[in-house]
Symmetry: C2
Subunit: 388 residues, 2 copies
DNA sequence: CCACTTTGTCTATTGAATAAACAAAGTATA
DNA sequence: TATACTTTGTTTATTCAATAGACAAAGTGG
């Protein structure tokens, strides 16, 4: 059914505008909100009172007078609730508890040795129970759990395929909802990482942002016109399987010459004839490069060139404001950045490259957990429109 | 300034919903509109009366009674105004006059022999003057002119670069607005073609649609979440310069191994060592293939393989509902379709390919002119919110 | 102490929607 | 042919979220 306009819609819209302003400005008065938004000061006063009643906002003392009455300063109640964010990696699970603004109040990492569904599910449930215990009391409690996974996820929260975990058709959301009566959101780890960078990283002001999760494979998340772009089935962003060498190597996905064969950890480790996906391998390589190992430096350079080729494609295709390189490979920034940028300079179209910045993530391996937490927070506010 | 909700917004929103329903349903009653939209029948009655007053809607007789009073049937007034759509090609200019629904009431094609700015501007102005004369009288007259061009266009309507015309920094919009006091919209020809397919072609029900304009080069338009995606500077969609053969041939854009070197008319003609961009060359090739020329058929096949590689990339990246192949090369559908589809079958990810359809344009070379006309119509309605 | 300023609350008004009454114009049946 | 019922469209009373502006509270400066 079509969404039509009525007074209920208007009120909700304006209340959301007011709440977003309070979140953004970190101490703001009703008068200032009225000025910034154009809403009538009576309207702002009324809407703020309702937000105070639902405990999302509180009065935090008085501000400075500019000649008349001192304003009452408002703050977003970060601790009105908490969210759990989880990054399910190939060799590890990273957990965070955040408040409603995404600020981390607790984090924990576990290693994975057994990839079986039963083993991972068991450890997830155990640890989430512990996190529930660790979470401070608050008006809304734990409002949801968000999880980023390295694979294809459908809209029901089923992991259709995660090649690096060896998983197919795993109903992760349902399994967790059998245990925990809170909202559970499952998303691809690159999408979650993109949201993390968009909310907490250097991608906060970008309307069109591409996040590259470069690790064992390559996954990409796309914020287009301020929203994650997912495609018809929710599977968009598999640029790791974009052909960049039409007559190159066979990929296990069935294609030939896929980007991730040349521009990921897989490419790096293959060149050194190491097959193990051991997490420490990349660290060892970085250490060797730091000691001046020419062969390793050359390998890093080559990976940089191919990352640059794919990034140039992204610039020509999307014309984004910002491209953020994240994932485990971004810890090797020092050894790949220069060749990435010089390859982009050579290959990306001049006009397209003018307003595009390519940077490495500041959040490093935290993007995905933070993004996962944000997924749960967004869902909470969407599902509880009556609170706002 | 933030857009806040008020009663003015509500009314505009609902009136647009009512008008869209009348456009879509082609003879509809107030009662039916109320039922379909959920708006109160008094509201619908009131809004329809205002649309009748502004001459966008009229009462077109009575419908069948289903037991009570006969309904009064409403129609969108297609002839309330007209729009001019222009496709400025490398060797030709295609003009249409359409009504407000995009139905063509007149069309005309001219050949281009002199690419100079002065010559083309002169002929454009002369022909547009003639089109103004040819347009029937109507309440709103010619509401605007839309033009698709083969190059990079900025938001001011300046053609920054059109390599196949040999143009740089041509202020086309301003030049035409010096002559004609109507709204003029300039866009890239692939973007215009995408809109044409989205409004009038087989892309009408697609939320995520990729249109490939394959001719001398390759340009791509992207409808993502129901809207054209343009990127930060408006230059998105240059997939013709997406690297698919990292160590392949040098492109004049500065990159190496660009898709359009292998998958366009350019590739086809180069293989036969013909350099001319003569429009008839492709026709001759199609004719030779029809006569069984093995070499030509093999060349078409090769182009089909490379089109398939790029289309597989598009499927993996965007996960769209629909990919439409248009532009001049689509007239060779018979000789390239099978190899495109089999290459896609081999190379596109299985999950991603499930809900994606790849078709050839029914509008053929008309996509761009119709899309250009639609650009002008959209701008008219956006700029004249007070009429709706 | 007073005049002025700024912030916040309160009240009257506006108007676009809805609900429901009413009018107009059909059909079916006795 | 008259009547009862149905469907469509118009009109009226009501609701309520906004705005405009009056008023209150609480400052500053002379």
């Amino acid at each position: 059914m079509t969404i039509t306009g009525d007074q209920n819609l208007i009120k909700k819209m304006n209340k959301t505008i007011v709440l977003d302003e309070i979140k953004k400005l970190e101490l703001v008065s009703r008068a200032a909100i009225s000025e910034k938004t154009g809403l009538n000061k009576g309207t702002v006063s009324s809407l703020v009172n309702e937000l105070i009643e639902s405990q999302f906002v509180y009065e935090a003392g008085t501000g400075k007078s500019s000649g008349g009455r001192k304003p009452v300063m408002l703050l977003f109640n970060h601790q009105a609730g908490y969210s759990i964010g989880i990054d399910l990696g190939v060799n590890y699970i990273l957990y965070v508890i955040t408040d409603l603004s995404g600020d981390i109040i607790y984090e924990q990492k576990e290693s994975i040795h057994d990839h079986s569904t039963v083993a991972i599910l068991s450890t997830l449930i155990k640890t989430i129970r512990e996190l529930f215990q660790k979470t401070p009391k608050s008006p809304y409690g734990i409002i949801g759990i968000g999880i980023g996974v390295p694979g294809i996820v459908n809209e029901k929260g089923t992991i259709l395929h995660a090649p690096n975990l060896g998983w197919k058709n795993v109903k992760l959301k349902q399994a967790l909802n059998d245990e925990f009566k809170v909202s559970v959101v499952i998303d691809n780890e690159a999408n979650a990482g993109t949201l993390g960078e968009n909310q907490f990283g250097r991608g906060q002001n970008a309307e069109n942002l591409i996040y590259i999760s470069a690790g064992i494979g390559i996954g990409v998340g796309m914020i287009l016109r301020n929203k994650i772009y997912r495609g018809v089935s929710g599977y968009a962003g598999e640029l790791g399987h974009m052909t960049i060498k039409a007559d190159g190597e066979q990929c296990r996905c069935g294609n030939v010459g896929c980007w991730e064969l040349y521009a990921s950890e897989k490419a790096l480790l293959k060149q050194s004839e190491a097959i193990s996906h051991d997490e420490n391998k990349l660290q060892q390589y970085i250490h060797l490069a730091a000691k001046g190992d020419e062969s390793v430096m050359q390998n890093f350079s080559q990976v940089g060139v191919y990352l640059g080729i794919g990034i140039s494609n992204i610039i020509n295709i999307f014309n984004p404001e910002l491209i953020i390189v994240g994932g485990r490979l971004s810890t090797a920034e020092q050894w790949i950045k220069d060749t990435i940028l010089s390859t982009v300079e050579q290959r990306a179209l001049t006009y397209h490259n003018q307003k595009t910045e390519v940077i490495f993530s500041d959040l490093r391996t935290k993007s995905t957990t933070l993004g996962a937490s944000t997924l749960a927070i967004s869902k909470f506010f969407t599902d509880h429109e009556e609170l706002i």
